[in-house]
Symmetry: C2
Subunit: 355 residues, 2 copies
């Protein structure tokens, strides 16, 4: 199989590595930046570099547009004009509506692998980036079945889990579970800055503000693209949140303890269902450990747990105001491992409690 990559950054480069390893594919890569093309070649992400689109697409069976979201629609359009009939074209953009509208061509299938958002650049590309990762595909009624099947099979060979979804449903989902948390983080920072002033440090109040604003001001170039490419669905989600907040304010003013308790319990159950449902090995359990905040403590904890075969799913360390104490929240899967973890930590002499 012959693959063409339009864009060879983290995602494009990882597709190249995966395709060469898993599918024995020959991979031709184009990138507007010659240095990036050369790096991709040197890293083995591609076995041939092209200096323009026609050269890259010549003879390809599968083409991936792996450019920044903003540049994708035009690249898809240009590629379709140059492409042979028996070739499938996909992309890796994080929103799909605009692209789906841009093409009703039977050769085009929009795509979005849920992987690799944390780092950028071909130097971080990995052959196993997509192992076990969901890879959304947005075929339409006009999509060629033969070509869709070819793409699907290729993604499975990467270790990915392709999953078809309607483009608008995809964008609505991403708006809620990925883009909205970023908006809320930005808004929460703006509100605290408005209250405290631009120069005032936050009093140390526990980890909730820190966790809630961790993604505030994420990479502006990338996120401006994402926000704007999904602006219709995101604006709707943001206004739905505003409506929900008005309801919360009304509930608070009514001082109805039963209503507040029930609302909070629904959130607890909802989070557990969203983050744990269908996972093997039981529900995720949380432990809170008080530790002195010095080098070595986290290592000691992690080593002891690893030695006992406990896998830490998630971990959040929050220092105290003076950096001398801290709390480590640990998440482990299953009731028994949680109990064992608690015993192990208590045995090390650290105060530990189930959250």
């Amino acid at each position: 199989v012959k693959i063409a990559l339009l864009g060879v950054g983290l995602i494009g480069g990882s597709i190249g590595l995966a395709a060469r390893r898993s599918a024995g594919a020959s991979v031709c890569g184009y990138d507007p930046d010659p240095a990036v093309r050369a790096a991709a070649l040197a890293l083995g992400a591609i076995d041939r570099q092209a200096s323009d689109l026609p050269e890259a697409l010549d003879g390809a069976d599968v083409v991936f547009v792996a450019a920044p979201v903003r540049a994708i629609p035009e690249l898809v359009h240009s590629a379709l004009e140059l492409l042979a009939e028996d070739c499938v074209l996909s992309d890796v953009g994080s929103t799909k509506g605009a692209i789906a509208q841009a093409s009703s061509d039977e050769r085009f299938v929009g795509g979005h692998p849920l992987a690799g958002a944390e780092t950028a650049g071909v130097e971080h590309a990995r052959a196993d980036l997509f192992d076990g990762a969901r890879w959304y595909l947005t075929p339409t009624a006009g999509t060629s079945g033969v070509l869709y099947e070819r793409l699907h099979r290729l993604l499975v060979s990467f270790g990915a889990q392709p999953s078809a979804i309607e483009a608008q449903a995809h964008d609505r989902l991403m708006a809620c579970v990925s883009h909205l948390p970023h908006v809320l983080a930005n808004v929460l920072v703006a509100q605290a800055t408005g209250l405290l002033g631009a120069q005032a440090p936050l009093p140390a109040t526990g980890p909730s503000f820190r966790d809630a604003t961790r993604v505030a001001g994420a990479n502006t170039a990338i996120w401006t693209d994402i926000y704007l490419s999904n602006r219709a669905e995101l604006a709707a989600a943001v206004e739905q949140t505003a409506e929900r907040l008005h309801e919360v304010a009304t509930m608070l003013r009514a001082a109805d303890a039963d209503a507040v308790s029930a609302w909070n319990e629904r959130a607890r159950a909802g989070r557990e269902a969203l983050l744990d449902a269908g996972a093997a090995g039981g529900p995720v359990r949380e432990l809170r450990v008080s530790v002195p905040n010095r080098p070595g403590v986290i290592a000691q904890l992690a080593l002891a747990l690893a030695g006992a075969g406990v896998n830490i799913l998630d971990m959040a360390l929050s220092p105290s105001a003076d950096n001398r104490q801290g709390t480590v929240a640990l998440w482990v899967r299953g009731e028994q491992p949680a109990t064992r973890t608690q015993e192990l930590i208590a045995g090390l002499g650290f105060p530990v409690a189930r959250a």
Copy 2:
């Protein structure tokens, strides 16, 4: 100095331990639960237990009401009726407005130590719980200067940093930086549940949703009390957030890339100022490391960094969909330590990037 504690859970017990250690105080403790009183005595948090309020308060120089928020106003009222003239009474509730209104007595100073929110119960009490912790005090124009000074000096002997603040300003601050993040977490879960259904697991989309909802459905008994005791300020903060969200929706629909970029950059700068300003040792830097998700990896990383003297301020581990890969976000203080950390991690063979 003779101290009386009304309530000897985590906070009351820690006050007792700190007072006995640092101030050589004699500490008498009352708790409605006799088993809790006995545990506090056994742990050395108090040196005498009282079976009712009059017995506890007899001869006290300083009294702390360390009960759940909801129970505080009535306890403060009862204590003031029984208390000698030359005695200062304080409390440790997380909201202060209702209590400040409840008492204009010159002997009363509202208080709120920013410590110990993560665990509960006298068995987790520690003499050093307040080391370096901010301890808000809400004196009024009617507060006795002599008694305020006695309380302040005692808190300093615990290692705490007392800081006077007007009660309403305190509650507005807590609403924004502590209570509002919890509300947003609950609302975000409700919105995702509304979209996906109560049973649907979330697709693995990176850590933003997980981080943003970490405190969703926090301890319902405690948080129902907190929400309601601060309902006026919190409702106002919640509605301000709703207003800000309407503005964001309008900005998104206008598709103004410059405005979106500027808004995101303000959030980045704002978060840095809120969380880093005034901190010693330079700005907090973030690194993202890709790691296989198996026992021992976190320990290996933490040990290597600890061995090089790097202190991890904050850490968040996010597993991939299949639990085989993960990303660890690490925060360290200072540009040089961040660079050294990056080199150390790269030397271990893990992909690492500055965020």
